[in-house]
């Protein structure tokens, strides 16, 4: 899979899952995201790359309205998921976040058992009718998080007692346990060693079968390895968006080219 030539990789399906039009984000007076238009496809991995502070995380957090928790943050424009405007008054952000899961840059398991970490989401969404069903959901999620084999004997040990890489995979399992349709990952591998990184990347590739995945990364290689589409952000602008292969081999914009070749950043 990974060694397929970049140019031959394509998105599996063409239908648009998330569509953003003319998005502006302000932190107080700081205009952090400017005029961003982007279409994120279903069953596709989309990578956001760009220098530090260019607004990748900010934009990612717009997609599940995590920015609502920041008082000074203001979002303008239109973001739709399956055609529904997520900033519409009728949309409950809590419902949205069940549909759009998120994995954070730093692994942040709850200070509870491994089992409870994964079971928490399904529990509050009423996804299981009884303990057996919940057990099943937890096992499936942990398997998809590629961590089942390591933790199956100590499901009731604290999640915070795992290694960094295991914690991050636990967080991924926790995110997929609620069966989201979109998975947002903000630098999920920044705290991981190469082996754990490879595991997570493999996992992302599997998740692509069912989800639309958006990943923020500082590693060009990672973006090239896991994504089908790449968006390059610079100073709050979406400079270039297209097929990963094309962005990495033949960027249209000079800024993209300099960033990829390591001249800005």
């Amino acid at each position: 899979m990974y060694d397929a030539p970049l140019t031959r990789r394509e998105a599996a399906v063409d239908d648009v899952k998330i569509s953003a039009r003319d998005v502006q984000v302000f932190y107080g007076d700081n205009h952090a995201i400017k005029d961003v238009d982007v279409d994120i496809q279903d069953k596709t991995v989309t990578a956001f790359i760009g220098p530090s502070g260019c607004g990748k995380s900010t934009f990612l957090r717009c997609l599940n309205r995590m920015n609502d928790t920041i008082d000074i943050c203001r979002v303008e424009g239109r973001i739709t998921i399956d055609g529904d405007d997520i900033y519409d008054k009728r949309v409950d952000p809590v419902q949205l976040r069940a549909k759009v899961g998120m994995v954070f840059q730093k692994p942040n398991p709850f200070p509870k058992s491994i089992y409870d970490n994964v079971a928490y989401g399904p529990k509050i969404h009423g996804m299981a009718k009884n303990k057996a069903e919940l057990d099943e959901i937890v096992e499936r999620a942990l398997r998809r998080g590629a961590i089942w084999d390591e933790v199956k004997d100590r499901l009731h040990a604290p999640g915070t007692g795992l290694s960094g890489g295991q914690q991050q995979r636990l967080c991924i399992a926790r995110a997929v346990a609620t069966e989201p349709e979109v998975l947002l990952m903000d630098e999920p591998c920044s705290a991981l060693d190469p082996i754990a990184t490879a595991q997570v990347e493999e996992l992302i590739d599997e998740l692509r079968q069912t989800y639309s995945v958006v990943i923020v990364t500082h590693s060009m290689q990672q973006a090239a390895r896991v994504s089908q589409k790449t968006a390059f952000f610079h100073l709050g602008h979406l400079v270039e968006f297209g097929e990963t292969g094309q962005i990495f081999t033949n960027p249209e914009d000079k800024r993209t080219e300099s960033y990829i070749t390591g001249r800005i950043g």
């Binding site: 599940n64 995590m66 928790t69 008082d71 000074i72 809590v94 419902q95 976040r97 069940a98 899961g101 998120m102 994995v103 954070f104 730093k106 942040n108 398991p109 709850f110 200070p111 928490y120 989401g121 509050i124 969404h125 604290p158 915070t160 967080c171 926790r174 995110a175 346990a177 609620t178």
Partner: protein, 451 residues
Amino acid sequence: MSDASLAPAASPRARRSLMETDAHTAKRNAAEKRFRLYGVAAICAGLFFLVVLLTSILGNGLSAFQQTFITTQVFLDPAKLDKAGNRDPDDIRKVSTFGYTPLIQNAVFEEVTSRNIETPLDSAKDMKALISASAAAQVRDFVIANPDRIGETVEFRILAASRVDGYLKDRVFREDVARDKNIDAEHLDLTDALVSAGVIAKQFNTSFIFGSDASESRAESAGLGVSMLGSFFMMLVVLVLALPIGVAASIYLEEFAPQNRFTDLIEVNISNLAAVPSIVFGILGLAVFIQFAHLPQSAPIVGGLVLTLMTLPTIIISTRASLKSVPPSIRDAALGVGASKMQAVFHHVLPLAMPGILTGTIIGLAQALGETAPLLLIGMVGYIATNYPDGFVSGFMDPNSAMPAQIYEWAKRADPAYYERAWGGIIILLVFLLTMNLIAILLRRRFERRW
């Protein structure tokens, strides 16, 4: 920026062996050594004062837990106590303590004569100076409770008079009694004789811990029990009001309230309230709860309300601090899996903040328990409480005192016997405070979790 500026300039530090200390390092090390010495000195000074404090408290106060008693056989004379002879409780009640005093004096005099103790005091009336004024009430209460025992001779352990107690505790000296109209040298001789006969003895005084306060002239029978109850009912009010209000307010302010001028203002004011002198809360309570709301004076409910006002800022500040210390990543994690804000707070943040909240609350309660000044203004000092409140409601509504106020009251009284009781009361108060702090530590250990 040119690369040249980054190249190492000619080294300003001469090359030296690591084995020799240069002047700069020696100076630094000396400064560090001095600082450590200051620290040790400061701790020693603190420890010294702690030891002085504890020894003086224990030295002055422990004797309050011992009291001098006279063991004597009292003949419950039917001719005096039940003239009609029909054991009618109403008739028996009509006999006041004055009727009992001669019986007790006779009994003590009998102890003296039966042992052939030589003394110039040759009448039962002369025994008065040895016997506490509260003894008559003690015997009377017994008779009213057991009317059928009238006519029998019953053994009583009655309180000795305060001067006798003081003599046994080295508070009253022979040299001083010439100026004392309550007791004289003959009585002290008699006391010595009765002590060696085993009639008068110091014993552990439970009624100091559980009993009620007594009037100025009966220091020997004063106890802290009723004011302890007063404190207990006040703490109940504080706990029931301050904990939920304080925690709810802090959760709202910390997790839900928008960050704006108004909430900033509230925040500043809460911090300021924590620094307001407690007597200000007292006068506020007087104005609001007593003069405006017409709640009863001197009642634990009012005291509790005033102390609630005083404790709230402490609880709010410590709760907010412990909520703040929960890493935001935990909130993000909960929101990220689709928990509502309230679920995130109640399922994840609050349990992690719990040890801090509980510690803050207990420390707030301990503060309130030791507070005296506001109670002065709402009349919770003075000789009010002579009896236990009967029942829960009267515990809140009846006039009462509180432990620190009672101690203050005792310390104010003229009789030196009360001085000892004030120190003893402080020991009890400290035991309560230490227990509360211990509970705070245990809870903290119990709930503490890593994340």
